[in-house]
Structure formats: C-alpha cells, structure tokens
C-alpha cells in the first residue's frame, strides 16, 4: 500500500488517514447501493421482456403448449396445470395487466411451469440440477483465462513493439476470433477422439457413485470438465490480453512510472507494483461487462461435450420446442449476469480508492 501512496498525487485522504476507513465504507456502500438498484431495474426489464415475447408471437403459445403436452405425453392436463400455463403464456380472457401481475407472482415463487420435454418435471428442478455444472465451468475458466490473459498482457504491454508483442498479440487475436463451439469441436476431435486423453462427453464418470463427498467422483468431475474448461480458456484469454496490453502501454509512459524507474527500482517491481496495478482496473470492470459473452460461449461449448449444464439443457429445450424451459433458462442467464456484475462492482470498490473518495 505504501508504494502506491508514494506515487499517487497526495489527496487530503492520505494526509489524514485516520478517519478515512469509516467514510470510505460509506461512500463505497452508497455506490454499491446505487448499482444494486440498477440491477433490480434491469432484472425487471428482463422479466417483462420474458412476459411480452411469447404474447407478441403469432398464434396462441399457451394453446399450442397445452396441445403439445397432451400430444407428447398422452396425459390430460389438470385444471391447475392449464391455469399455470395460462399464467405464463397468455390468456385471451383476462386483461394484460392482470396477467402480468399473476405472472410476476408465480416467477417470484419459483414457479416456471412444467417442462414439456420431460413432463411432468417442473422446470425449476431441471435448472437447479444443471446450474452447478455451468457455474463450475464458467467460474474456473473465467478465473484462469483472466489471470493468464492479464499476466501476459502485462508482459507484452511493458515492451510494446518488442518481439513478444509483435508475435503474441496477433496470434492470440487470431485464436480469440475463433467461435467457441468450433474450438470445442476441434478440441474434441484432437484430444478426445484422436489422442484419447480426455473423455469425449458427459460431466462425470457414470460408473462412480454420484456423491459430492466421494474423492473419485470429484476426480472424474475434473477429468470430464478439463476439455470444456480448456476450450473456454483458449477462447477467452486473448480478450484480457489486449485490454491489459493497451492499458499497460499508456500507463508505462506515465510520469510516476518514469519516476519509479529513475529511483532505480528493479524492472519487475516497476512493472508489477507500479504500472500493472493501476492498469488493471479496466480489466476488472471488463469482467462484469463480458460475463454475458463468456456465458454464451460456455453454453455452446457444453453442447459439444454434452456436458450436463445449462447449455445442454438449452439445446434440448430448443430441439424439443420446450418453451417453458427456454424461458426459464433465459431468466437464469440474465440473473447470473446481473449477479456477476454486482460482484465485479464490489471488487472495483475494493481496488480503486477513487470510488471511495471525493
């Protein structure tokens, strides 16, 4: 901490450090409160879109859905089920506002309707089973890709126009321009089918008992998750590399970095503790804005590896025209993105003193 304080132009806060923590927490808190309000509004917009889209589609989705269920399963719908479908997909007999209110009510209580493709399982059960797998993939691959990309960006950006920069930057740009599902297919082809190093599909070894406490089960989860995770890292790391590189290039020419160098500090210390530390901030906000795209990529990767997460569930929902499932997955993706955004905002408050001061 003392290193940065030495180089950052002194603010009143650095002169009297004692009362800062309390005030800082207050400022950061109101910033976060404001952000939270924004995310609530965004979630409401998503909910409303989710309500409007099926109602503005040609035909009567609710009617079609009821017919589809009877056709696929041969089961007669109970009046309660018909009611639930009407709530979620539109009822010509009640007005839109009433429908909207009861729709919001059922979403808040977690009632997303019944999955057509796996009648009569409630949609929420399918989603809760798939969610942990996707969170695992997204979490691990995002963290690794971010660390690798940002780290390489620091190294490359410290010497723009150097040999490493001239080669690594365009090559990783090329990598990052590949569609995730295509990279997944190529990985599947090379590592699973040709070399046989990793399993080609699934999320765990089916011959091992499905217990979270079982060591072999966890080991098989890692083994089966390796290829999807590698794919996501491969597609994702370059974006962080460029952002970091460009920020580094501009930061390296700042006066305080020159001063640090003039003080005779080691190259490594100047790079990481002076330049990189400040250049990293946009990469952290970038984490928030890109989480939607990362999720999109992971969703497609899961389909290639028939990984039991949300992406594969979505694929099944689309191929069987299971609208309740599709819409619930849509809401879940939105929710995940909003939560990730909020986490990134909180991180930003922790890392950038400027959001706490003035």
């Amino acid at each position: 901490m003392s290193d940065t304080q030495k180089v950052v132009p002194s603010t009143p806060a650095t002169i009297s450090p004692a009362p800062l923590p309390k005030r800082a927490r207050g400022r950061g808190g109101s910033f976060l409160l404001q952000r939270a309000g924004f995310y609530v509004v965004t979630a409401w917009v998503a909910l409303t879109l989710n309500f409007l889209i099926p109602r503005f589609m040609p035909g009567d989705p609710a009617q079609a859905l009821a017919l589809q269920i009877t056709r696929q399963t041969g089961a007669q719908l109970t009046p309660e089920m018909l009611d639930s479908i009407r709530t979620l997909y539109g009822d010509p007999n009640t007005n839109l506002l009433e429908q909207y209110l009861s729709y919001l009510g059922s979403i808040v209580t977690g009632d997303f309707g019944i999955a057509v493709s796996r009648y009569p399982t409630p949609v929420i059960d399918l989603i809760l089973a798939a969610l942990p797998w996707t969170l695992f993939l997204v979490g691990v691959s995002t963290i690794v890709a971010w660390v690798v990309g940002t780290g390489l960006g620091v190294i490359v950006g410290y010497r723009p126009g150097g040999k490493l920069d001239n080669w690594l930057t365009p090559i990783s740009q090329f990598f990052s321009s590949m569609p995730s599902f295509w990279v997944a297919l190529v990985c599947l082809w090379i590592f699973a089918l040709t070399l046989g190093i990793f399993p080609s599909s699934g999320g765990y070894d089916p011959s091992v008992p499905f217990e979270i406490t079982n060591f072999w089960f966890l080991a098989s989860v890692l083994q089966y998750g390796a290829l999807p995770i590698l794919t996501s890292i491969f597609v994702g790391f370059a974006g962080w590399l460029f952002a970091m590189r460009n920020m580094m290039v501009t930061t390296v020419s700042e006066d305080y970095v020159t001063l640090a160098r003039a003080e005779g500090l080691s190259n490594r210390r100047v790079t990481f503790r002076y330049a990189a530390r400040n250049a990293m901030l946009p990469n952290i906000t970038g984490l928030a804005t890109s989480i939607g795209a990362i999720l999109g990529g992971v969703v497609l990767t899961e389909i290639v590896f028939t990984y039991p997460g949300m992406g594969y569930l979505l694929f099944n929902a689309i191929t069987t025209k299971d609208y309740p499932l599709m819409q619930a997955i849509f809401l879940m993706i939105v929710l995940a993105v909003l939560i990730a955004n909020f986490i990134a905002d909180s991180l930003y408050v922790l890392l950038d003193p400027r959001t706490r001061e003035n």
Binding site: T42, L49, P54, G161, S177, P179, F181, W182, S253, V334
Partner: protein, 305 residues
C-alpha cells in the same frame, strides 16, 4: 491514407477483408461458371471423401463439395454480418449523437435504457426470440442481431459527441441559428469517423459470430448456406466422430480469419489515432533511449579518465 497503409496491422487486416468481400460478391458466379459445381449437388461417388483433385476440400456426409459450400457460405455469413452491422451502427449513431448532443433529461433517459440493454445478455435475448421464430431466414436473423447489437456503440458515440458539442465550431453554428439535426449530421457525425468505423467492424464480426452460434444451436436458416450452418451440419453429420477434418475445419477458420482481419484494422486505426499505442514508434523510442544511455555511459567512462 498513406499513413494508414504504412501500418502493417491495418494493411494485413484490409487485404484479408477485401478478399472475403470479393469472395462474397463474386463467389456464387465463380462456383457456377468457373468451378462448375452445384454447392447443393450431390456426388454419389464421393460421400465424406477427403480432399482430392475433383473436390479440393473434399465432400461432406451427403456428398456435397465443401469448397463450393465454403464459397457460397461466405456470401451468407458476410451478408448477415454487414446487414446487422449496418443496422446496429445506424441505430447507435442516431441514439448516441442525440443523447450526447441534447444532454440533460433526454440524455439521462436514453443513457438509462442503453445501460440496461448493455447489461442484458444479447445472446440470451437472441436465442429466445429465434426460438419462437423458428426456421427464420438469414435476413430476419440479421435484422434481429442488428437490433440487439447497438447499445455498446451508442455509449461510446455518446461520450464522443458530448465532447464535440462544446467545441467552437458547433457553438458557432448554434449561434448562427443552424438547426440541431443539421449540426449533428454535418458537423458532429463526420468527427465521429474513428469511433463509428471501429464500432461497425466489431458489429459485423459479432453478427457473423451470432449467426454461426444460432445455427449451431439449431436455430439458423435451413434454406441458406452459411459458415455457421456448415459447422452445425458437420456436428450433426458426425464429421467430428469420424475425424473428417476437411468438413468442419474450413468454415471455422474462415470465421476466425474475418474476426482477425477486422481486429487488426481496429488495432491499426487505434495506433494511428493514438500515437501512445503505436507499437513500432514505441520500439523505436526504446531503441533511441538505449542508444542514448550507451553513449552517455561511454562518455562518462571516457571523460574523467
């Protein structure tokens, strides 16, 4: 312009993009009259055949020529990219300049909408709409993609407009009594060239990507050929399981090349407008500094002795 072409990244990106544009424009003519192949025609003697003189990139699982499909697919994919890019850019310019120029309450309202739309994952919105409109043509897909892609660009255009709004030339026109739409169209938009072109290129690539992703999810066009539908066919046709690389590698590489090319153009433009980012200039400065230091060291060593 000469400064642009001197930049290696920009030149490479431009060349690749132009090649793809030419393929998209002339490809169908080339396939039918020079190669004399029907991209949907089936060669029963060569099903899933590896590359050979007859089929330079082999054939797919139903016996269609992969090279012909790749060339035809370029038109499909590039059309989706360009159309969605144009739609997204036009909306972004309209919304961004209006918000940035007017300021005040209209700006705050527009900005709130833009922020909400930016946070909503566009991909998820796209699949849910496409899920309801199944078997949409590529034009409809392009329009929907374009309608979802504009918020990011609108934000940067708004920021740029806000700074232009207070420059002397705009305030001069305001005092003369020029109408707001005219000031925006004639004075503000031309100064946004850099932001607009970079946003447009990104939107084109994003459009190609999204169409390919939709096709892979099974929501693409069933009647037209695009690179996305090719990869998706390879997947469903079992090309990966059987290791028929000639079927699924080329379309993905084509998408990657276009993405690479546009990114290089943007990189080059950045370097030209922002000398701090110029890699070659930076390298030369470092070399100069090193040389200076060496001379000084030599002089010091030689001086007092």
């Amino acid at each position: 312009m000469r400064r642009l072409l001197k930049n290696r990244k920009f030149a490479v990106g431009m060349i690749i993009s132009i090649v793809f544009l030419v393929i998209a424009l002339l490809g169908p003519w080339f396939v039918s009259s020079v190669m004399q192949v029907d991209p949907r025609g089936i060669d029963y003697d060569a099903i899933s055949a590896p590359p050979s003189p007859q089929h330079l990139l082999g054939t797919n699982h139903v016996g269609q020529d992969v090279l012909a499909q790749l060339i035809i697919g370029a038109r499909g994919s590039v059309t989706v990219g360009l159309l969605s890019g144009i739609i997204a850019t036009v909306i972004a310019v309209l919304v961004g300049t209006t918000a940035g120029y007017l300021g005040g309450i209209p700006d705050r309202a527009i900005n709130a909408v833009v922020n909400v739309l930016m946070t909503l994952p566009g991909f998820a919105l796209l699949f849910i709409i496409a899920g309801y409109v199944q078997e949409a043509g590529i034009l409809l897909i392009a329009v929907v993609i374009g309608l979802l892609e504009w918020p990011g660009g609108a934000r940067s255009i708004r920021a740029q407009t806000m700074s232009l709004r207070n420059r002397d030339f705009t305030s001069a026109l305001r005092t003369v009594g020029e109408s707001t739409p005219r000031i925006i169209a004639v004075e503000v938009v031309p100064h946004l060239g850099g932001v607009i072109s970079s946003m447009f290129l990104k939107a084109v690539v994003a459009g190609i990507f999204m169409e390919a992703s939709l096709a892979f999810l099974g929501l693409g066009s069933t009647s037209e050929i695009t690179w996305g539908t090719m990869v998706s066919q390879a997947q469903t046709g079992g090309a990966i399981l059987r290791g028929h690389w000639w079927f699924f590698l080329p379309p993905g590489l084509a998408i990657a090349l276009i993405g690479f090319a546009t990114a290089m153009i943007n990189f080059g433009l950045d370097e030209i407008t922002n000398p701090q980012l110029n890699a070659r200039l930076n390298a030369r400065t470092r070399q100069f500094n090193r040389e200076q230091r060496r001379r000084r060291a030599l002089a010091e060593a030689g001086g007092p002795a």
